[in-house]
């Protein structure tokens, strides 16, 4: 992924993770933007592996996205105890004796 794409999806993930959907005063967003400013022309300023900054950005992006996806799946499927007779009947398309025909 190119640097701009990573930035956009990182900010998007941060926005989705924040409780009020706003990253105006988010520390992480500020830090990431500052890093992007710093490495605007090249990220080879420090003696580090090639593309390290973008790799870390990608990793953090994966972290946020995976956590969000995991939570969505969990919310959809996690056990909520036994189903009631009514729910079970609805599941297989039956009606209860008390229901109207």
């Amino acid at each position: 992924m190119s640097a701009t794409k990573v930035l956009r999806s990182l900010l998007n993930e941060l926005r989705r993770a924040s409780p009020n959907g706003c990253i105006k005063d988010s520390l992480a967003a500020k830090y990431i933007l500052a890093q992007y400013k710093k490495f605007e022309t090249t990220d080879q300023q420090l003696c580090k592996a090639r593309n390290e900054a973008i790799f870390l950005g990608n990793t953090y992006n994966t972290y946020l996205a995976s956590l969000r996806n995991y939570k969505e799946l969990y919310m959809e499927y996690h056990g909520r105890g036994e189903r009631t007779v009514k729910e079970t009947a609805d599941l297989v398309g039956f009606k209860l004796p008390t229901d109207p025909k």
């Binding site: 993770a17 520390l27 830090y31 870390l56 990793t59 956590l67 996806n69 799946l73 909520r80």
Partner: protein
Amino acid sequence: MNTNLVLGTVRSFCLRSRGKWQVPISGSVRQYASPPKRFYKKTSVLCTDNGYEITLDHRKLKTPKGTLFTVKSEPLAIAVATEFDSQKEHIERSRMHLSALCFTALDNPNNLSKLDMVNYLLNFIATDTVLFQYDDEQDLQDLQHNEWDPLIAWFNQRFETNLQKTMNITPPLVTDEDKIKIAKHFQSYNLETLHGFIFAVDTLKSIVLACAVIEQQIPVEKAVALARLEEEYQLKFWGRVEWAHDLSQQELQARLAAAVLFVHFNCSENFIKEKLIL
């Protein structure tokens, strides 16, 4: 008469116990221990002499053991603060891998020494996922050959070892020389970083893959896909179940990403030297 008395007591006990214990089951809610509520509004990071601390409103964040939370790296502190900030109504501690890793590293609840951790990692080599390959099924064999072998080759070149894959149930032979070389590499990291390594290795069940992803040879998603290679292969025939396969994939990705970030933030230090202008 005696039996009557006994029966009477037994009956009354039964009646009483029924009244007491057999509460009619109402509804279908299973009772779980509820996670703690989010008790703070704002999180932020403090910079002190010892490192970076995190505040939740006006309180300072502490580890489960009660020590003050301090990390050396600014991005790590910011990531943990963001993680605390992204909790909605409850604090879901089981889904906060970065914070959990920091806490484990700070508290070291099992009192592990560096030697213990290196030994743990070394013991993993003989059961490394990518070294166990399967030659009965041609497609799977090709897949493993194409995907895993380059990484084994990379690992052997990077650490000057000679790991060989095995095609049956006998574990691969790892010479003492190789073990010493790998141990030397892990010994060069500090204790906190090794916690990150163990977390990554436990997630992937493979040292080769963990080293490859930490040394930026492959991205996180790819590493998880490779660790689940046979599962992915079998999915094509047996079907993909969202609540099992996708769930485990997402969790592994989150865990591995947390471990990689933790290792990177812990072992990278920036010294910036300004040029002197005379």
